[in-house]
Symmetry: C2
Subunit: 290 residues, 2 copies
């Protein structure tokens, strides 16, 4: 498939991809390129890749596939730095949770001899860092490709085949549509979880320790989501601002309706609102995504 792959940004996604590739193609050489010397040291120590470097040119020089899994906010800058050293004919894919802003950042830096295919594996845990990865992270999860008109069909096919082998379900999608869909399914839920856990953090000491102690289902799930990597999520919100603000506006209107119904003790309204949400859960279970 690929004889050498460079993974830039060796966190949860990068290290999971390394393990998934090694399991399928033990002979493929994997290079870790990370700006943190500490991360490179861990990667070498734990043999998570065949080599590790903080040097941009060295890191990408001979690779057929560049896998860009840094936070979204630095992707443009990273591409500017690797650009002169990219091998002619190489494929570059990113893993950003936002697509249009990433495309706008990256495209200006990529030479015509390299095919940049924007991608997004929908998978993750609340853990981060080079030791958080595992080969099965992407199994049965979606891998979305939001191609550019300039992408070569055979390269899209190559990436699609690799991810199918890894165990993901691959789908082609429009970048703008991707950003709106993800704003609902992922970005807003994370924002809400961060907010509610933040509200609890600001409580007086006594009440806060009770909240921790008696943390029930509901809040407990939110704390897991709100433990996700802050740099990654900061960048998501900065780069998908428009779609997130639009969905947040709708959410706020609906929350105001709930608040009104509680204040007015309108039991019928509450019951109706709490009933209609069961259907969507059933659809998700039926779709095998639960």
């Amino acid at each position: 498939m690929f004889s050498q792959i460079t993974i830039i940004g060796f966190g949860l996604i990068g290290s999971s991809f390394a393990k998934a590739v090694k399991a399928l193609y033990p002979k493929t050489k994997i290079i870790c390129l990370d700006t943190s010397a500490e991360v490179c040291e861990i990667v070498l120590q734990d043999q998570l890749a065949d080599d590790a470097t903080t040097n941009f040119a060295e890191g990408v020089a001979n690779s057929d596939l560049i896998f860009l899994s840094t936070p979204v906010g630095v992707m443009g800058e990273v591409c500017q730095k690797i650009s002169p050293a990219l091998k002619s004919g190489a494929i570059l894919i990113d893993t950003g949770s936002v697509k249009q802003a990433v495309i706008d950042q990256i495209v200006p830096h990529i030479p015509d001899t390299v095919d940049f295919i924007p991608c997004h594996p929908i998978a993750g845990t609340e853990n981060s860092g080079p030791r958080s990865g595992f080969a099965e992270l992407f199994v049965k999860r979606w891998f979305l490709i939001t191609p550019l008109s300039s992408n070569k069909a055979e390269n899209i096919q190559k990436i699609s085949d690799l991810w199918t082998e890894i165990g993901s379900k691959v789908e082609i999608m429009d970048a703008k549509h991707h950003d709106l869909t993800l704003a609902i399914t992922s970005h807003l839920p994370h924002l809400i979880a961060y907010t509610i856990v933040g509200t609890a953090t600001d409580l007086g000491d006594d009440l806060r320790s009770e909240v921790i102690k008696f943390s029930a289902s509901g809040f407990r799930d939110f704390t897991r989501i709100a433990a996700s990597d802050p740099v990654m999520w900061r960048d998501v919100f900065l780069n998908n601002k428009e779609a997130v603000l639009e969905i947040l506006q709708r959410f706020n209107e609906d929350l105001t309706d709930m608040q009104k119904a509680i204040r007015r003790s309108d039991g019928d309204k509450l019951f109706d609102m709490f009933s209609k949400t069961r259907a969507i859960r059933k659809h998700i279970i039926d779709a095998g995504q639960a």
Copy 2:
């Protein structure tokens, strides 16, 4: 311990309690009292209790322990109906997720010869009905008792001992303090989850089917929470109005801050807000509640 127990309202909590008691005390006679003839039929068919009835007086007549696990909104009415038939010396416990409103509803109907001890097992799943129960539901979960000044110490001890045997961690708490704590850890998270899943339900058909298809961690967790029993949750919000509205007000202020930071592209502010929430997750893991 108890020779006969009546479980009123044979849903997730009631059926789980029945299984937990039967596992510990096979000789204890368990009576299901439920206003639904269909539920009683299932209970008898699946042998979930030794007997089942829709008749209030018959259901409680000879029981030493009455376990009230109906939705919060009907607890007062149920107690009024069982009151004349309660055995002298019996203990009555409820399982309401709200305590002060339940106490206010129930106390007027309970004769002096019966000891009503307000309780709340903090456990649940998104499933409901007589077939959703399992004996281990309460294991390692909190069982909160918010006693009345009239409760006999030996009866509180008896209930505490039973729940310790079931595997719960028992704690005594003030009713008002309970209601505020649970408003944060459980009621607000459920309200938010219902709202966000409701927002998604109202999307156009195309976008909604995409949301279901690509439902990622975050939204997926919310749909699970938002599939919880609508009657139970309607009653929780109607009966813990004051505490929920207070916490909701704080949450709204914090969400407005988040919204502002996104609109202004204030990355530092977002990073700070996303970083402080990690600490509370760590405390919850340390407290063994994760």
